[in-house]
Symmetry: C2
Subunit: 375 residues, 2 copies
């Protein structure tokens, strides 16, 4: 088991961010998480810190003995981690907001930890809402890989440790909404074309809700998700098998993906000029701006991602944009510039400058295609 190296998150990114998955033009990534609790321990809300620490040590031992697919695992004890490290774990989707407060002075209860495979394809939060929140991540629309990744981690742990399981109810969890499979599967989708035609997007959301799926914006919860990144996930965990739950997503998501593609084609056909203009301007702004807020940056990255999918951009690919969407977050910016802020976190103008500088270097080389304006 490796400790976290200081520059870990400034360097290589997880495999799910590097590899191209199925339907990557619309689907960014899939995530499957399993809630598990150890038999013989109270749930986290009633677990004192001493026992929480013992529980974490048992999990650590189990993983150490069994290993994980995806490379040598990294273990992070959150009480000892800096605010920046906790922020980086969150931005990398390896820890939740509740699990890893980023305030430097926040007291993090003993026993809270994160463990992840080197390639970040599988990971676990220890002593979050449940004793264990296991997670598998995959690129594109590939629920199978994400499910296999988390399943292998689950198997490794359950081979070593007894978990709370009822033959009648299934896996027991701290919150009743997770009882049963303890599973939540989700797909992150990029829906810029549907986002431009609001009424169509509302239809998609309504259809999802009718089949028991939830849709929410990835970044921010406003009227329209920043960058048009949405997460579709199952809500029900009880009374159905894991396979049934995945089947629900498999039944609905390809329709959304096709719908988004159809609207993209339609926009390209009917409003090509305006679309080319939007993509070219966003690329121009990303290549030129000296300060960029996260929201602003996501909006422009979204346009460029759409432009790439439609063949309107040369010199960049989809994964570059998905990687950028992670790296423009404040923790990642700071991790790449350890000398800029001293001990604390950077202030907002400093971050906006670093974000713009990063994107200028990353995207300055590409160019927008389009009919050349004669002059």
């Amino acid at each position: 088991m490796r400790p976290l190296e200081p520059l870990h998150f400034a360097g290589e990114v997880g495999s799910w961010l590097r590899t191209l998955g199925p339907d990557q033009d619309v689907a960014v990534s899939c995530r499957v998480r399993l809630a598990r609790n150890l038999a013989g321990y109270p749930f986290v809300t009633r677990l004192d810190e001493k026992r929480a620490g013992q529980l974490a040590a048992r999990v650590r031992d189990a993983i150490e003995r069994r290993g994980v697919a995806g490379g040598d695992p990294v273990w992070v004890d959150l009480p000892e981690a800096s605010g920046l490290v906790r922020l980086l774990l969150r931005e990398r989707h390896l820890a939740s907001r509740d699990h890893a407060p980023v305030e430097e002075r926040a007291r993090v209860p003993a026993g809270r930890a994160v463990v992840f495979a080197t390639d970040e394809s599988s990971s676990a939060m220890v002593n979050e809402e449940d004793h264990l929140r296991l997670q598998g991540l995959s690129a594109g629309f590939d629920l199978e890989t994400a499910f296999r990744e988390v399943g292998e981690l689950d198997q490794a742990i359950e081979n070593e440790i007894d978990v709370a399981y009822s033959t009648r109810l299934g896996y027991l969890t701290a919150c009743p909404t997770n009882v049963g499979t303890g599973m939540r599967a989700s797909v992150m989708l990029h829906l810029p074309a549907l986002g431009m035609v609001r009424a169509e997007l509302e239809k998609v959301f309504a259809a999802a809700h009718r089949t028991g799926l939830a849709v929410r914006g990835m970044y921010g919860e406003g009227s329209r998700a920043a960058g048009d990144f949405y997460q579709v996930s199952n809500q029900i965990t009880l009374g159905r098998s894991e396979e049934d739950l995945l089947a629900e997503l498999r039944a609905l998501v390809p329709g959304i993906i096709e719908f988004e593609r159809r609207v993209r084609s339609l926009l390209l056909e009917q409003r090509r000029g305006a679309l080319e203009d939007r993509v070219a301007r966003s690329l121009g702004t990303l290549a030129a701006a000296r300060m960029l807020s996260t929201e602003d940056a996501l909006r422009h990255l979204s346009h460029v991602r759409l432009g790439i999918a439609l063949g309107l951009v040369e010199g960049h690919d989809t994964k570059t944009i998905d990687l950028a969407a992670i790296r423009i977050q404040r923790g990642h910016l700071q991790a790449r510039h350890p000398d800029e802020a001293g001990a604390g976190l950077l202030d907002s103008p400093a971050r906006d400058r670093l974000r713009a500088g990063y994107l200028r270097t990353l995207l300055g080389g590409g160019s927008a295609r389009g009919e050349e304006g004669t002059t």
Copy 2:
């Protein structure tokens, strides 16, 4: 006297657009106009078309005999001119809206004409509100040159033709507000920094009004002038000499210019990052966009013009921007692309594309200076 060549306005521009004048960082140009009426003719509203034609012929003869400074004059009979030519005259500040309707089918009364020196430094509208509206134009804040240009044209005409003059009132004009000197002098100012600090701009306007000067936006009359281009002009023409009227502008305008410069320095000092960002983004947008409305283009050109004045832009100069502000107008775009629209005027999306194409070529080469973002 030359006739107007078909591609005149697509080619060279007037000298006042090419040469750098005093205070060009803030002052775009000066204009002095004199209203004159021929003795022995009714004012234009009571002038029948036959006599209006005779009057125009007399003016033409006079100018032909005397010549004008600034090169071989060009004579344009508006009834025979196309809608496009009338539009171009307006965009070049050589004809007014009332004088030169741009609708192809508009019936333009006989006798209406425009005559201008090759370098456009002096010109006259014939049979506008008055029989003659003479004009002198100069680059930067240089009222003397504009006044000298129009004065020479006035002298040439008055040497040949008697004009309506009362020893008590001065020059007689169709509208009483112009009686006396018949003069209106104006300075076009670029006030982007004051525009960013609205309260300061309001102070400038209030001060101008108190001294009998008017301030209005050059492009559009909204709450804030497109591109922050403003025109300051005298309102009173009676009871004072030409020199007195020019002295009013000479007394007030340098203060506005200095005020704008001070606010620019202050912004550069206190908000350098935000200012660099704004300039860089606008340059990026102008170099990238595929469609640009006039208002949008003026806004970005204004930022770049400010950036040039503050040393934040490499590879472009102020005159390039002032020239662009003329050439992005619809008549000029169309004149450069005579084959695009057939007989009529281009539609709005076509213009927006040509405008973006022109600006992309014009400004694509420059770059914004600023601290390089490390990555």
